[in-house]
């Protein structure tokens, strides 16, 4: 059984402009010791989804189930969630400065975190553990720095402190929401390495939420692609990059400037994401999809296995046979080329 099984989660918020349907029927599983990458653009619902699982979306209307360790997190009381957050599920967020309390030393915050879950641990013991953890995440001179305040650390260091705190009680699951987005690339490389090390050491499962496909290619075992509050495609890392099925995944990958090889014109996805206050009927990607046909705007495609596998699923009406999907692509390219030459003439 998977560590976390999220099934058909729906989250909506009442706002002044109307009801925002931020998450619209999302399902996925996270296996023990593995990394699940969730990738999507701003407003795709990737953060809301995991925040809901940990009970951090107050005032939202929530449906569905999220089974973690035999317990439905979406039905759990605040007290039960408190016992789980930090102890069984650790969390790191994008901005390490606002996630740390500025007026307490980082050591104090880690000790507090350990003792909040286990009063029996003595302060001295908790402090020793804090030093050990800071050393583990690569803070030099951890023993001296444990009494320093967050402002005395750089951004990358603060994010390491956050990781130290998140794994302090050896949680089974670590949720990392854009953990490196605010960091420079050289510091990002350090933080990603620390996360890998933690996973190797403790066998922690990780949900890694990011908009950066490079980080996904580097870290994820399994990948979920989200768009407009729904899962568009789910596949293993290599399948997703080399044998994607969904036109949105294809569009995302084509929009990226290449890392090597000749420089060709980028092919962006036309248009902008739909409003989640009144999402379009049918496939949410249909208005921007180059392959769109009439059925796409009438029915919402279900997430179904493609290419004869069971693990690779895609929410798209295009053929689930590899050969036909390739033909789809070729036809599209021919059509686009014809349109381009017509435009030029």
């Amino acid at each position: 059984m998977a560590l976390l099984e999220v099934d058909d989660v729906r989250v909506s918020f009442n706002t002044d402009d109307g009801v925002v349907h931020a998450v619209r029927g999302v399902s996925f599983e996270v296996e023990r010791g593995k990394t699940l990458g969730i990738v999507g653009e701003s407003g795709s619902g990737k953060s809301v989804c995991t925040q809901t699982i940990t009970g951090l979306t107050r005032g939202a209307h929530i449906e569905g189930t999220a089974m973690f360790d035999g317990m439905d997190l979406l039905q759990a009381s605040e007290q039960q969630l408190r016992a789980i957050r930090g102890r069984k599920i650790g969390m790191i967020f994008q901005d390490p400065l606002t996630s740390l309390h500025p007026a307490y030393s980082v050591g104090w915050q880690i000790i507090e975190m350990i003792r909040a879950h286990d009063r029996k641990t003595s302060k001295a013991k908790a402090k020793a553990r804090a030093v050990e953890l800071l050393g583990l995440v690569g803070i030099p001179y951890a023993k001296d720095r444990v009494d320093d305040y967050p402002h005395q650390f750089s951004g990358g260091m603060r994010q390491r402190v956050m990781i130290a705190m998140a794994v302090a009680l050896n949680p089974a699951l670590l949720i990392a929401d854009e953990p490196t987005t605010a960091l420079d690339v050289t510091v990002q490389a350090q933080v990603l390495r620390v996360m890998r090390k933690v996973q190797e050491e403790f066998g922690t499962a990780i949900i890694l939420i990011t908009h950066d496909l490079g980080v996904i290619a580097e870290m994820a075992d399994e990948v979920v692609v989200m768009y407009a509050g729904q899962v568009m495609e789910r596949a293993s890392r290599r399948e997703l990059f080399y044998r994607h099925h969904h036109p949105y995944t294809e569009g995302l990958l084509n929009s990226l400037p290449k890392h090597e090889g000749p420089i060709t014109r980028l092919t962006p996805i036309a248009g902008t994401p739909p409003s989640l206050i009144s999402p379009p009927r049918g496939c949410p990607f249909a208005p921007r999809c180059p392959y769109v046909f009439s059925r796409c705007v009438e029915e919402t495609p279900p997430l179904e296995p493609v290419f004869g596998t069971t693990s690779h699923t895609s929410a798209c009406f295009l053929s689930s046979y590899e050969e036909e999907r390739r033909q789809n692509r070729e036809e599209l390219h021919a059509r686009q080329a014809a349109a381009a030459s017509e435009g030029a003439a």
Binding site: E41, S42, S154, G155, G156, M157, D184, V185, T186, V187, Q188, A189, Q190, L192, R193, H211, D212, L213, G214, V215, I216, A217, E218, R237, R238, F241, Y242, G251, L252, L253, N254, S255, L256, P257, K258, H259, E260, I263, R265, L266, T267, P268, I269, A270, T272
Partner: protein
């Protein structure tokens, strides 16, 4: 610096020459002491040339001074030292009034499409401002010209009367582009123009910028921390670290023959969106964080993080010059430039204990003390 002090005899005259530009910011330690206090050395002796029609990419991490340099080029900041020569004219000492005609020629696009547009003004007047300020046009009608611009950058001209809040991030960035284009400038400095945008939208804006360059022969300075974006748009790339340019070369060379250890590390830190490439690439993980520009390290500013550092790197500032038999257009500021085959992972710093750990002030006094010792003996 010696390599760049003499302007290279190039086929075309550079559009802009940045000569030994220095920009320091005083740090206010208490309310009345401005000068004489500690200085943040944001840009420290930068020399660059920008040829007409090219795109110069400027890359570096947070706090390396790339945005400050951009604002010095456009004279949004006064320089602490050095010169900026644009189209044969020294613009570094011009007054605000004298600068006005220059401002027509050099425009800027900013990172934040939310913060750089006045939320209480309509798009038409934001773009049309340029005409009003410079007292141009009116015969054809400003509205007409603004709508032409909107169409040019892919906005619906009917949205002339809308407010910025009614547009998405990508569309707002197009408004910023339209505003920059209004006066038909020769050069546009783009400061992280796509960093705040989602990838699918980012590609739209990059294509737009490239199309406009082809159509109007624009010269770009393109600042970004995203190396794959910079590679995509730039003809040449200059890499900055802590207020200095450490390596400049044409874009292809930066990616396959970079000489500076920092450039190598920066390139290797960028995760490619390709699992095979991610698995096969060499990972160089630098230790530590970029130091503070308030108190930059002595010698080569990269030495505390550099695997190839030696004593010389601690004491002597490296001279910008081509390494090995590189062309003169590829200067690098490093005492130990890297060959193609070398890997940074094979090196460990060789800095003697007597030198390591000294802070710059102590080191300066220590070094300064040597001649007097000789004098007395």
């Amino acid at each position: 610096m010696s390599a760049d002090a003499v302007p290279a005899p190039s086929a075309s005259e550079p559009l802009m020459r940045v000569e030994h530009v220095v920009k320091h910011f005083p740090i206010r330690t208490n309310s009345l002491v401005g000068r004489g206090g500690p200085q943040l050395r944001a840009v420290d002796d930068v020399t660059l040339e920008i040829t007409p029609g090219e795109t110069l990419g400027l890359v570096g991490e947070t706090g390396c001074g790339k945005s400050t340099l951009a604002r010095c080029m456009t004279r949004l900041y006064d320089l602490t030292g050095g010169k900026v020569i644009f189209d044969g004219q020294d613009i570094s000492e011009l007054s605000r009034r004298q600068l006005r005609p220059v401002r027509r020629e050099i425009q800027m696009i900013f990172q934040d499409p939310y913060g750089s547009l006045n939320p209480r003004r309509r798009v038409g007047s934001i773009i049309g401002d340029a005409f009003a300020i410079h007292g141009i046009d009116s015969k054809k009608g400003n509205k007409r010209s603004v709508q032409d611009l909107m169409e040019l950058v892919g906005l619906n001209p009917e949205h002339y009367n809308r407010f910025p809040a009614e547009f998405s991030g990508g569309q707002r960035q197009r408004i910023g582009v339209a505003r920059a284009l209004a006066l038909k400038p020769k050069m546009i400095v783009c400061d992280e123009p796509v960093s705040a945008l989602d990838v699918s939208i980012q590609a739209q804006v990059i294509n737009l910028l490239k199309d406009l360059q082809a159509e109007f022969g624009l010269t770009y300075v393109f600042i970004s921390h995203d190396l794959s974006v910079v590679r995509h748009v730039s003809d040449r790339i200059a890499v900055m670290y802590l207020g200095k340019i450490i390596e400049t070369s044409d874009s292809a060379r930066t990616f396959d023959t970079s000489r500076h250890p920092y450039t190598r590390a920066l390139l290797s830190a960028l995760p490619p969106a390709d699992p095979d490439a991610a698995d096969r690439r060499e990972r160089i993980v630098l230790s530590g964080d970029p130091p503070s520009p308030l108190n930059p390290p002595t010698g080569c500013r990269f030495h505390p993080r550099c695997p190839k550092a030696t004593d010389k790197c601690v004491t002597d500032v490296p001279v910008e010059a081509p390494a090995f038999d590189d062309p003169p257009e590829h200067p690098v500021a490093c005492w130990h430039p890297m060959t193609r085959a070398e890997s940074l992972n094979d090196f460990t710093p060789e800095i003697s204990d007597t030198i390591v750990g000294l802070d710059p002030v102590a080191l300066e006094t220590a070094l300064g003390a040597t001649p007097t010792d000789e004098g007395t003996s």
